[in-house]
């Protein structure tokens, strides 16, 4: 051991020969994500009168390869917030670690009885995302944040890799924005005014129906999914749900491609 910190913890030169310092120096230029690698597909969310339902399937794709089939893309933040991640899975894991350290810091430092609610977390996450896009080093995610706001009212909002944010009684990211959002909007004919007429059962049913539609038509989806119901009483998270009552009866009618060529 000598007084050069660079040498600490390295093999001794006199025993193992000179150490290759090129490994130690950051000789390569700093790189930024230009496209996502392992990705998750849609996340769905619906408000109801007492809270929010949010769901995402358990697949992480590598391009068109179904690479990881047991990845939980809903993360909870105590006491009652759930964040659904679409897009890059490694960036999701980074944000998850960031949120865990935020939670620990809050528990140590903030005054008793104060908690970060879903609205606070959405503001925080959207600022992280906007900062990273402004540095040209984006976190390649589309997030839905579900929970309660300052008045314990249902809160559901989205944030994406550009820092764009918006809120709506029903939200869907990715493929779900095309396929599920029109179906979910049927629940809310008068937008925010309709939330009080939607029960938890209605919201869960609608979400399950949409997850099925997505599994039928989204090639990057899976029939195993996670679903969470957030209310004032806490988070009810189920991470190993299977799509029920699938109907593939239409499949043998399809002619002209696949195995039945004519």
């Amino acid at each position: 051991m000598n007084h050069y910190p660079q040498a600490w913890g390295r093999p001794r030169d006199d025993v193992y020969g000179p150490y290759d310092n090129s490994y130690f120096q950051a000789s390569a230029p700093q790189t930024h994500t230009q496209s996502p690698a392992v990705t998750g597909t849609s996340v769905l969310g619906v408000k109801f009168k007492d809270g929010v339902v949010i769901a995402a399937d358990n697949l992480a794709s590598y391009g068109s390869l179904a690479r990881f089939t047991d990845v939980k893309r809903l993360r909870t933040f105590p006491p009652n917030t759930v964040i659904g991640f679409g897009g890059d899975v490694s960036d999701m894991q980074y944000l998850d670690r960031l949120l865990q350290s935020l939670d620990i810091r809050e528990n140590y430092l903030s005054s008793y009885g104060h908690v970060l609610n879903a609205k606070n977390l959405h503001t925080y996450l959207s600022k992280v995302l906007y900062k990273r896009r402004s540095d040209f080093n984006p976190l390649w995610n589309m997030l839905l944040v579900a929970g309660l706001d300052d008045d314990d009212k249902p809160f559901l909002a989205s944030a994406d890799l550009l820092g764009t944010t918006f809120s709506s009684p029903t939200l869907a990211t990715g493929f779900g924005a095309h396929l599920a959002q029109p179906l979910l909007r049927k629940l809310m004919p008068h937008d925010e005014d309709s939330v009080k007429d939607v029960t938890k059962e209605m919201a869960v049913e609608a979400i399950k129906a949409c997850m099925k539609v997505l599994f039928y038509r989204d090639a990057r989806s899976l029939d195993k999914y996670s679903i969470a119901v957030v209310t004032k009483d806490g988070v009810e998270l189920k991470e190993d749900q299977k799509l029920e009552d699938q109907s593939w009866a239409f499949a043998d009618q399809i002619r002209g491609y696949g195995t039945q060529v004519n």
Binding site: Y130, P138, L162, T164, T165, F166, A177
Partner: protein, 264 residues
């Protein structure tokens, strides 16, 4: 108001109606590197009109990504320097890239509040307008991709309206439309507010024909014009619709009016 808006389209697969889609003339056919594009267009339109003792700012509440509607209610109008005692008399409207719009709003709001706390009086619209220009120009080489319109009342109590390009060029005007349907709304405003192409019948022939004199319009008439402008823009532009938010600034405060628009 020549601006970077006319310097070429967004490198994006989205429509982006708010910005010119004409490609830059000097575009070469050499190899192009794919890079992360930090901008997007969230559609929508805003407008502002002033009168003798009021200013009206309006914007639709639709937010879009390409052909998707993100939400039917995302306000583009913000009270600036409002700390809960409804003393604010300045409104900012931003249209273009919503994330930049929000960041710009937050910065201006913080500055106007700090001014009030440090000097014990609210900031004038004239000062706020100059400050907004400076904020925009500070990001000259990575601009806030927004068309901003700032409204309030000037030192004489008259309606004041300032419009900006994304890099901070600004001008005080009687009326201005911005955003996706600006090209549809602005000519209507020119004709109905500034009486462009309106002449007094039989007042002469050729160049002798007298133009109709500009007068400051009453508030009720302007509200009618704004509603007409947006219902018409909704008919003709896919990114405009869902709801119309109007903020009317008078010496008594800021009145908010929300009117539904077509949701198709």
């Amino acid at each position: 108001m020549a601006s970077i808006m006319n310097a070429g389209g967004l490198p994006s697969d989205q429509p982006g109606y708010s910005f010119s889609n004409a490609s830059a003339p000097s575009e070469s056919s050499g190899p192009r590197q794919h890079a992360f594009n930090p901008y997007t267009d969230n559609g929508g339109s805003t407008l502002g009109v002033t009168g003798a003792d009021f200013a009206i700012l309006a914007g639709d509440t639709r937010s879009t990504s390409g052909y998707n509607i993100n939400t039917r209610y995302a306000p583009k109008l913000f009270r600036i320097g409002d700390d809960g005692d409804s003393s604010s008399r300045i409104v900012l409207s931003v249209v273009g890239f919503a994330a930049d719009g929000n960041a710009l709003k937050e910065r201006l709001d913080a500055i106007v509040k700090m001014y009030k706390y440090q000097h014990g009086k609210p900031m004038s619209v004239k000062a706020c307008a100059q400050r907004l220009s400076t904020i925009l120009y500070q990001k000259r080489f990575f601009p806030y991709y927004v068309h901003a319109i700032l409204g309030g009342l000037d030192d004489d109590g008259k309606g004041a309206l300032y419009s900006y390009d994304p890099v901070g060029s600004y001008e005080r005007e009687q009326c201005r439309a911005a955003g996706a349907a600006a090209s549809l709304i602005m000519p209507f405003l020119d004709n109905q507010v500034n009486y462009k192409n309106q002449y007094i019948p039989a007042s002469g022939t050729g160049h002798e024909l007298q133009p109709r004199a500009i007068e400051s319009l009453p508030k009720e008439d302007v509200i009618g014009l704004v509603k007409d402008a947006f219902t018409s823009a909704t008919e003709r532009h896919i990114e405009v619709g869902d709801g119309l938010q109007m903020l009317i600034i008078t010496k008594d405060g800021i009145e908010e009016i929300y009117t539904p628009l077509k949701r198709d």
